[in-house]
């Protein structure tokens, strides 16, 4: 026979449980189920000897040293891009025109990244050229029938609890519906102009270092002979109130594009050639005599 105190204890616990269940129902989002990704993330320092401005594979220098598995046709385009850059041109890198670098190059983190985890969507904000905001839908949706292509692409993700500890630790993402032109990195390693790229990512915190984030990325693209997998790493900046710089590319871009030709803006604001011997722009639409 249960004692009066035991019955009372059970009743109390039952009542408390009911209260907690009510509270539970009211709280739709348990952010403790997700990894703590708050703060400002920066590209991790590359290994010693790695050179280049934001290489796609962070473990190798940019350009040819990437050993991108390009088809012969796209390898030729890449070589032409390098040749153009060698004489002062932008090559295939569209960032020079203040166009968004898009996926997958945006995940090289040319500027700081913020990750906002909400139940239906994980947002990735990167203020580089354009204030890019990847929306990674984690609400279980399927691919839309006819989405408008974009530089950031359309991303569907799934949170996984890979170690069974009751907390999600890995975000698996697939991105499609991209537009172009895009390159892998500033040296101009091209993606295919058909824009049928598929980017798969596994994003997870390092088990031993909660301020290190991994993004294992595989790109499937018709410019490649096989899927290209790289391991990107991001480092959390340990500041209490991070400053988020505003990057408005046209505001500081010293390059002027007229048609397909690139010029520099001189210190006094005038147009000047970007290449030796470059001809001035065609002014046939101006009726007045040149200054």
């Amino acid at each position: 026979m249960l004692s009066r105190s035991s019955i009372g204890a059970i009743a109390l616990v039952t009542a408390l449980s009911a209260v907690l269940m009510t509270i539970d129902g009211a709280r739709a989002f348990d952010d403790a189920l997700y990894p703590n990704l708050k703060g400002q993330w920066l590209r991790a320092r590359p290994p010693a000897g790695v050179r280049g401005q934001g290489p796609f594979d962070p473990d190798k220098s940019g350009g040819r040293a990437q050993q991108a598995p390009l088809t012969p046709g796209y390898q030729a385009r890449f070589e032409a891009s390098l040749a153009d850059q060698a004489v002062g041109g932008p090559g295939l890198w569209t960032g020079a025109r203040c166009l968004p670098v898009g996926m997958p190059a945006m995940m090289t983190l040319f500027r700081p990244m913020e990750i906002i985890v909400l139940p239906e969507t994980t947002y990735i904000r990167i203020d580089h050229i354009r204030e890019s905001r990847r929306r990674i839908y984690t609400d279980g949706r399927d691919w839309p029938e006819d989405p408008q292509p974009s530089f950031d692409g359309y991303s569907i993700g799934k949170w996984l609890d890979t170690d069974g500890d009751g907390r999600f630790d890995t975000l698996e993402v697939e991105t499609r519906n991209l537009k172009g032109p895009r390159t892998f990195e500033p040296s101009g390693i091209p993606l295919h102009e058909d824009n049928q790229t598929i980017v798969r990512e596994r994003i997870y915190l390092d088990k031993a270092d909660p301020d290190l984030l991994h993004d294992d990325m595989t790109v499937i693209d018709h410019a490649l002979t096989r899927p290209w997998t790289v391991a990107k790493k991001f480092r959390r900046d340990k500041v209490e109130h991070a400053i988020w710089p505003e990057d408005i590319c046209p505001d500081h871009n010293g390059l002027v594009f007229i048609g397909n030709d690139m010029y520099y803006e001189s210190a006094d604001g005038l147009l000047m050639p970007s290449k030796k011997g470059q001809e001035p722009p065609d002014l046939r639409y101006f009726s007045q005599p040149k200054k």
Binding site: G8, L20, F29, P144, Q148, E246, P250, G259
Partner: protein, 287 residues
Amino acid sequence: MMFRSLIGTCMLAAALFTMLSEARAFDESKYPNLKGQWVRARVPGVTGQPSYDPTRRQGLEQHAPLKPEFQAVLEANIRDQAVGGQGGDPTFMCISPGMPRIMNPYGAMEILVTPETTHILIEHIHDSRRIFTDGRTWPEEPVDPTFQGYSLGTWIDTDGDGRYDTLEVETRYLRGPRAFDAAGIPLHPDNESVIRERIHWNKDDPDKLTNEITTIDNALTHPWTVTKTYVREAVERPEWYEEVCTEGNGHVGIAGQNYFLSGDGLLMPAKKGQAPPDLRYFKQTQK
């Protein structure tokens, strides 16, 4: 015996409470449900581009409380625009409209509420904001000014129902040039604007959001307060169109002058009789 079971009960209850309080760091039910896609509410009879005071057309009809010298700037901007210039509106070169104009808003808006920050994402030129609600104070070190500014906010439960309904925001540390609208109603070039907002969600009309904005600026004779209204689109999964201003922008800025790109990719004047750019740094004969 009874004492021991009571202790056990209390320990169990305490453990349950502790588990919940630790696990549930973010109680989103305390905040208004602002999910979805918000757009500018149309005001019947008001035509033209979005205006700062949404109940009046942009430009002179706004009756902006400008000081005389800034009223003169506005009128000069309107004259410049009448002959093909851009008159005080820097957005033609894909420069952000900045605060308070970005809250017109021009594109679809998404509001992400987290305990520390409310993010306002607007698909336009460069219009998205962070409103810090983590209780911080203004930074002691000067911060680099931005077109969006640095915003501190406080969530308030105005009707005492246990749920926040209003976000009070103050924005400082702005840069320029900025205008209130596309007609070129100017803000002061000292960029000392202070912008206060009350973004209010009414639980009885949950698909409507009001934003009472007061701009304090040295171009104005007194603070200028307007109320903007946003409505939530009734779609379950809205599509977010990517707006890339620099893609296909037909304006070319050289030495402070605006030119157009023709259909065949050549430079052409933006105004009647406009002189061509100075090409003194080119040695060769012009094409």
